[in-house]
Amino acid sequence: MLEGLVSPENLSLSSMDMNVLERLKWLQQQQQQQVVSQSSDNSPELLQILQFHESNNDELLQSTFSHFQMLGSCFGPSPNMGFGPSHEAMDGCISRTSSFQMVPVDTMGVMLKNSEENRTISSKNKRKSEVKRREEEKTEKKIKVEAETESNMKGKSSMSNNTEASSDTSKETSKGASEIQKLDYIHVRSRRGQATDRHSLAERARREKISKKMKYLQDIVPGCKKVTGQAGMLDEIINYVQSLQTQVEFLSMKLAVLDSELELAVEDLYVKQDQTVIIQKLLIIFFLFCYEFQLQAYFTNLPVVNASKPSIMVDVPLFPLDQQGSLDLSVINLSQTTSTEAPSASWETQSRSLFNTSSLGFHY
């Protein structure tokens, strides 16, 4: 399901945002895998990300969001780490992210998108994508460290504890550390014209769920791809369901007519030709016995000897109006096919063979 999430996100967001989203998913993956790595800058902010992962709290969500703001503020030059292979690793890790964190991923992705946009607006850097990837590198490696420390601590720790621990491990960017330590309250900066309270985030997650389902329906319903917008798509879906229902009604009427004809003919036959019915039944019994023997000879390992009887019993009502010759033919065909076929005498396959050997070609 997350792959389905990633692709529309990729389509809608810019390339920078895509990196951020992938980074987030990769962060989650790393936290779950608990890989060790070296520590570097901006560890206190990453701790907050991990806190968020641990507890899935909304306050922590906002704290991580504020963290990203600070990440954007301390933007300075950083050594170029090898972000190429890690990016590929991120791509590989995306598919393995768990699903229980889907909703926070959505919101986090959205928040990351917001943070990215804010960053671009504030910094106006030219080589934005590269710089951000470097930032992502740093943050990823820090998260690995913090994942270990978090797992050692086992549970939610307060922000003050984290700041202490992180200040021990952080190396430089005192700006970021000091900003973290000053933080006692959670400040959230919102995107332009969008609120970041719990309700709007939940709403946004809900809307993304709905859009995902609409996309799936778009694939199912033919002729829905040309229409854009939810109203048009719903219109098409309604029309399609109505057309399917009318088709079913039409077919049911047709079947009713056919059934009534069948019934009349059957009654006719049974009234007039009693002898043939008796002879038919005798033949059935006869073929049943030799068929059973055949089955026992060929399919000793199968416990479905009784399947032969119901298949032949179905034979009679299915072809109630056959003459004697055709009835024999069908039974003989059945025995022939079962003797040549591989042992697969389940109920379904026998009925399938029945249908296949009939003169009608019961094709699907």
Partner: protein, 201 residues
Amino acid sequence: MSGTNPSTSPELEGTETVPFRRRLVTAQRGQRVFAPKLLEALRRSSRSSEGSASHISRRWGDTAAQKVYSLKLYDALQRSRRSTTVRDTADKVLAATARGTTRWSRAILVSRLGRCLRRHKKTKPASAVRRSGGGRRKLSVVGNRVRVLGGLVPGCRRTALPELLDETADYIAALEMQVRAMTALSKILSEFQPSDKLGSA
């Protein structure tokens, strides 16, 4: 209807491994399982990584499922000649094939049950009087359509949009399978007709 639906039996077997689900014991014995929410929840949890697309198409796209449905439909048509219309038997068998995991299938089964009882008892239907016109605020365009769609899918008149979309997807797949099966069945039965008339004459 003790036969297992081949398209859903592997899923039933998959759920047997969970020890604390007591109702799975009945599934093990091959009886008809009717624990719809359990099954649905288990299915979702076991296949959380997949989307809703795959299991719906797998359920209703199989030719095996179509054959099972057509056999059941023919059986039901043989039994109930004059009591109900063909449409009702078709819907009933469709809902039975769904095994009651979806909302519309449960609604179909319940509605048939209610109607049979109503016919026997000959009492006024006890369904709640729906204040369709009054009390409804002016909806948006999308909201109107959602309501119409809820009216089309049986038993989903009041469900929220995400669940409604899920039900719609399953219902559409089921309807397509129903149409395919019924066309095949009608083709077979129509091919019988000319020879029979000749034979009975």
